[in-house]
Amino acid sequence: MSSAEQWTQPGENPAATAAKPTPEQVIAGLRATSEGGTELVQLLNPEGERIASPQFDRYVEDVDAEQLRGLYRDMTMVRRVDREANSLQRQGQLGIWVPLLGQEAAQIGAGRAMRPSDMAFPSYREHGIAWCRGVTPQELLGIFRCTDHSGWDSSATRFHPYTIVIGNQVLNAAGYAMGQRLDGRVGDDGGEATICFFGDGATSQGDVHEGFVWASVYDAPLVFFCQNNQWAISEPTERQSRLPLYQRARGYGFPGIRVDGNDVLGCLAVTRWALEECRLGNGPVLIEAFTYRMDAHTTTDDPTRYRLSDELEAWKLKDPIERARVHLSRNGLADNDFFEQVASDTDELAAELRDFCVNMPDPPPDRIFSQVYADPSSVLDAERDEFLSYLDGFVGAGER
């Protein structure tokens, strides 16, 4: 399926021009990047209709009504977590929040394609992947309430800490995947794989390019999962690349594929395929999930300064949750009771999250010095002792 030649030969219908906006589209604020081009893999269209895919159907043939409902529920739950956390930031309970709004299908599709033995390296917007890995929304909050730098057990969940420096995690993931191969855990269906998440902006980072080089020359079982949400804060994808991002893989000698990132079934199928390729020893693989950041970069950002609302309105018609809902309804795969139950579950989750958040204690001052090193440092120990003894000198210090 994925000989190097296949992917290093230019296609007959290169989609490079598909991303080029017409002057009319630019004037209308509708950049052509709202369309994914002719090579876009799509199993559910925005109207919720199932589109046959000779290449990828077999990767979701086991997905029955119950699993589809599960995917819908996952997306709805993480959207509610996202909206609740966004509100908590607005109310001063979080220092910052990084919205995933609009990227639920990309993340739930990819996250549910993983096996427990696979490893994930996220950026900092991967709340949906966290959900799939069993990291609770509560465990995410410490980072954004600024009480910790990473609150979950990354080896038990196989979900690496969020990486905030853009693109760093791609090299860390390449190293981890090299280790899976060195450990002899690649080569059959029981093998392991790694998946690494990053955005369109990160594709300009040297670390991402080096990650492509390392993973390819060491045949690492690594899926590069790029969520192209069209915006790196204020910079459109045109500032990062001349050609569609998935086509970059050709230059490194491995497969690159663009999937509709708002199509949860498509993302599930394509990621399952990619992880299977990696487990079998045919990695790495690049997936570009073509999606849209429907909210701001973070709660400190103001997208009205750099993009027109027409664009957002166009993408609302492609909403990942809405199309799954329509698909379930139209095909009689879910009834009203189901949708009401999910809505009630999201309310409950949001209430729990809010309650947890507002009651999170601040860490004690000696936490500053905790676990800088695995083995003690006499210099740091002395610094800590001096500071704590200074604090103890205040009246009422003992009551702290």
């Binding site: 910790d148 990354s154 760093n168 080096e210 006499s378």
Partner: protein
């Protein structure tokens, strides 16, 4: 892709004492560490077939296989960044940066990931990576091949930084750095790698000093010289010359730069009252300035003169036709001793 391991630990030798250069001692230390733990892997540019541009990893790939000694693509961020991932996976990578002047593409990974993952995860993730860095001048090289950037790394919380000055320490310290669960920047005095004058008997059956400890290497009572890496030998030569003129100098090999182990320095300064810190690095905001600050704090009433420094200058490394002026030498050190005594 990977060859099966060959006879691991081969060629270590039968006698426990071998007369080795610093470079050969490092090679033997790496070999011993690899034989002791199959999770130890060596990675870097040209470290395999070639044995590294300085031959420090000579023969390791032949004996341990391509799956233990990785010739990497030519990108330092990639070397460090993938080493971090390998460590998360459970390996103990030993990276070679070819020359210290090429470490900066890897600086981001070193500072942002390697140094911080343990703290970020409150100890749940350990990153036992060693980064070997040939450093310092005196080899008549072109730009970027003679620098001393160790202070930049000592400034980063989460890293440990050490430097060896002789074959015995080289042999033990590299093994101790590899078994450390913290990331260690390991600075090697490249101009001494193959110095036959520095050859020393390395007893592989001995009990080594701890890694993060400095050591008095020559006793004296007039003034204290503190140095690390290539400057230790210069200080020892200065102390020998001073002794011929009847001046007794104490010399301390700092060995560990982060955390600094200054107790032996404080003890010494309380006896001698005078301290000269020697390093090839530019003096501003450096290891030497840190030592001066701490000694004035701890030994204020013992000091007979301010702490003086003999260092490189606050310039980029000069064209090497000028490096004999830039590098601390015997005369500059003895001049500093005279200034201290005359204060």
């Amino acid at each position: 892709m990977m060859a099966a391991p060959a006879k691991a630990g081969a060629d270590i030798g039968s006698s426990s004492v071998q007369n080795l250069t610093l470079g050969k001692a490092l090679n033997l230390g790496l070999r011993t560490a690899m034989a002791a733990d199959p999770k130890v892997i060596v990675m870097g540019e040209d470290v395999g077939k070639l044995g590294g541009v300085f031959r420090i990893t000579d023969g390791l790939q032949k004996d341990f296989g391509e799956h233990r000694v990785l010739d990497t693509p030519l990108a330092e961020s990639g070397i460090v960044g993938t080493a971090v991932g390998l460590a998360v996976r459970g390996f103990r990578p030993v990276c070679e940066i070819q020359f210290e002047g090429f470490i900066f593409p890897g600086f981001d990974q070193i500072s942002s990931q390697l140094a911080k993952l343990h703290y970020r995860t409150q100890g749940r993730v350990k990153v036992p990576v060693v980064i070997r860095v040939p450093f310092g001048g005196g080899i008549g090289a072109v730009e970027h091949h003679s620098e001393s950037p160790e202070s930049l790394f000592a400034h980063i919380a989460g890293l440990k930084v050490v430097s060896c000055s002789n074959p015995v320490d080289a042999y033990w310290m590299i093994q101790q750095a590899i078994t450390s669960d913290d990331p260690v920047l390991f600075f090697e005095p490249k101009r001494l790698y193959h110095s036959s004058n520095l050859k020393a008997p390395v007893d592989t059956a001995a009990v080594p000093d701890p890694l993060f400890a400095s050591r008095v290497v020559r006793n004296g009572n007039v003034a204290t010289l503190a140095a690390y890496g290539p400057s230790v030998k210069v200080c020892m030569d200065a102390a020998t010359a001073a002794a011929e003129e009847g001046t007794s100098l104490e010399v301390i090999d700092l060995r560990t730069l982060s955390p600094l182990d200054l107790a032996p320095v404080f003890d010494s300064v309380r006896r001698t009252g005078r301290l000269i810190v020697v390093s090839e690095a530019p003096p501003e905001s450096s290891i030497t300035s840190e030592i001066a600050a701490r000694v004035q704090q701890e030994c204020f009433y013992s000091l007979e003169a301010p702490v003086l420094r003999v260092t490189g200058f606050d310039t980029p490394y000069p064209p090497t036709k000028l490096e004999e002026h830039y590098l601390p030498d015997l005369d500059r050190i003895l001049h500093a001793v005279d200034r201290s005594r005359a204060w």
